[in-house]
Amino acid sequence: MTEKENKKERKIVVPGEIIVSGEDYLPGDGTERNGKDVVAKRYGLADESGRLIKIIPLSGVFIPRRGNVIIGKVLDITMNGWILDLGYATNGFIPLSECPRYINKGDLGDYFAIDDLIVCKIISISGRGIDLTVKGRGLGRIEKGIIAKINSNKVPRVIGKEGSMISMIKNETGCDITVGQNGLIWIKGDKIDNEILAKKAIEFIEDRPFIDGLTDKMEEWFGEVKK
C-alpha cells in the first residue's frame, strides 16, 4: 500500500459516482470514462496516482489473476491432474505436467489426496478454467500448521508495504507464514502458541481496514500481548 507517499486521503466512492472531471485523467481498474468524467464502476477507495484513476476494492469475492499464489483444497482427482477449490466460482486444475516430479498414473492420490490444502500458483485463466502449477519454491502441499481465513481484499494489508507487515509478524512469532491471494493464510510454527498468536495478529489487521500506520500499531499490539 502507498499510504505514506500518498498523503491525500483516499475517498470511498460508490458505483456511478463521478471521481474526477477532465480529459487529463486516465480511467484505470474499476472506473470508466463517461464524456468528460471518470466514473466509478464499483465500490471502493478511489486512488489517484498521477493521471491514472483506479479503485481499490474494499469488499467482495476473490477474483483470480494470473501469477497469484493461492491456497486451494483438493476436491477431486482425475486421470491427469487434481481439481482444486479456490474459493471462487470456477475450480482450478493442476495438470500432472505441472508437478515437480514424475508420478505414475493411478498414484495421483498418494501425492495430493482429497481434502489436502495446496499452495499453488495460477499460470493461466481461460474460458475453460483456471490452470495451476506447483512447480516453484514454496509451492506444494501444506503439511503442519494452521490456516487463517480472511477476506481476500485485506491481503495487501496483511502483507504490508514491501512485505513489512508480514515480515514483522514472522519475526515476532517465529512462524513461517504463506499468504494466499485468495485469503487463506498458512501459519507454521514450532509451537502452537506462536501459531495462535500469529493468527490473532492477522485477525487484528483484518478488523482495521482504514487505519494509517498500521505497522506501528501492530508493533504496540505485540508489545502488549507479549507482556
Binding site: I12, P15, G16, Y43, V61, A89, G127
Partner: protein
C-alpha cells in the same frame, strides 16, 4: 371542473412529497459477500429490509448456467413476524412476483459479463412491513450489490407513489394503502437508476389518469434521488465504525 381531493392531510402528518425518515447501513450480514439494511420510517411504523449478496459463485442447477454472462437471482421473502398477523413462511405467488420484478430493476445496472456460468444471489428479507416493502427491498439490494464489490453502472433507488382520492403522495404507508374514500387508493412502485434516472420498475395498483401518472413519475424521481443520497452516505460511512 375537478372536484377537490378529500385527502387534504396525510395520516402521519408528513408533507405530500416527504419520504419517511430513512436509515441505511451496510455490512449487516458478516457471512455474506455484501449486505445492507434499509428502512423507511422509524420504530413501529417502519418498513425494514435486509439484503445479503453472495457471489459471483457457481450456479446450480447447471442447466441455468449461461456461458455468455453471469446471472442474477433475487429472492424476496417476508419474514413471518414482519406483519401483525403471522405471515405463512416460504415462497408464495406474491413473493415470487416481487423477486422477479426486483431482479428486473437491478439486473440492468449490473455488469456480469466477466463471470460466465456464475450466479449472484440476492436474498431480501423484510423484517418489518409497513407498505412499500418491495421498494425498501430494492434499495437494500442495490446497496448490498455495491457492497459486494460488483461492477455496476449506478445505484438503484426505489420509492412508491400513491394516489389518495386525487392527491399524489410519496412513500405510501400501510394506513394510506388502505385509504378507501373518494377514488380510493392507488399505489405505484417505481425504481430509478442513479445515473440517467432511468425507470427500472413501474407497477401500478389501482386507477390513475395519464397526466397524473406523469406527475407521479416526476415525484418519484425526485424522491429517488434523495434515497440515492442516503444509500451513498451509508456506503461511505464504513470508515467511522473503527477507531
Amino acid at each position: 371542473m375537478v372536484e377537490k381531493s378529500k385527502y387534504t392531510k396525510r395520516i402521519d402528518g408528513r408533507k405530500f412529497d416527504e419520504i419517511r425518515k430513512m436509515s441505511a447501513k451496510v455490512g449487516v450480514v458478516k457471512e455474506a459477500d455484501g449486505s445492507a439494511m434499509f428502512s423507511f420510517g422509524e420504530g413501529k411504523e417502519a418498513t425494514t429490509a435486509v439484503a445479503a449478496v453472495f457471489g459471483p459463485r457457481k450456479l446450480h442447477p447447471q442447466h441455468m448456467q449461461d456461458p455468455k454472462t453471469g446471472i442474477l437471482r433475487v429472492n424476496y421473502d417476508m419474514l413471518s413476524f414482519s406483519v401483525n398477523e403471522r405471515a405463512r413462511p416460504g415462497p408464495n405467488r406474491r413473493s415470487k412476483e416481487i423477486s422477479e420484478v426486483s431482479k428486473w430493476a437491478l439486473v440492468n445496472v449490473l455488469e456480469l459479463k466477466e463471470f460466465p456460468n456464475t450466479v449472484v444471489d440476492v436474498f431480501i428479507s423484510i423484517t418489518q412491513a409497513n407498505a412499500s416493502t418491495r421498494c425498501a427491498g430494492i434499495n437494500a439490494a442495490s446497496m448490498a450489490l455495491a457492497h459486494a464489490g460488483l461492477n455496476m453502472k449506478s445505484l438503484v433507488a426505489s420509492v412508491s407513489v400513491g394516489k389518495m382520492d386525487r392527491t399524489l403522495v410519496v412513500d405510501v404507508n400501510k394506513k394510506e394503502e388502505d385509504y378507501e374514500e373518494g377514488e380510493g387508493p392507488t399505489d405505484i412502485a417505481l425504481a430509478f437508476t442513479g445515473r440517467g434516472q432511468e425507470i427500472g420498475l413501474m407497477q401500478l395498483d389501482g386507477k390513475i389518469r395519464p397526466e397524473e401518472l406523469k406527475e407521479a413519475v416526476e415525484m418519484g424521481k425526485k424522491a429517488a434521488m434523495e434515497i440515492i443520497e442516503v444509500q451513498k452516505n451509508a456506503l461511505k460511512d464504513v470508515r467511522g465504525e473503527e477507531k
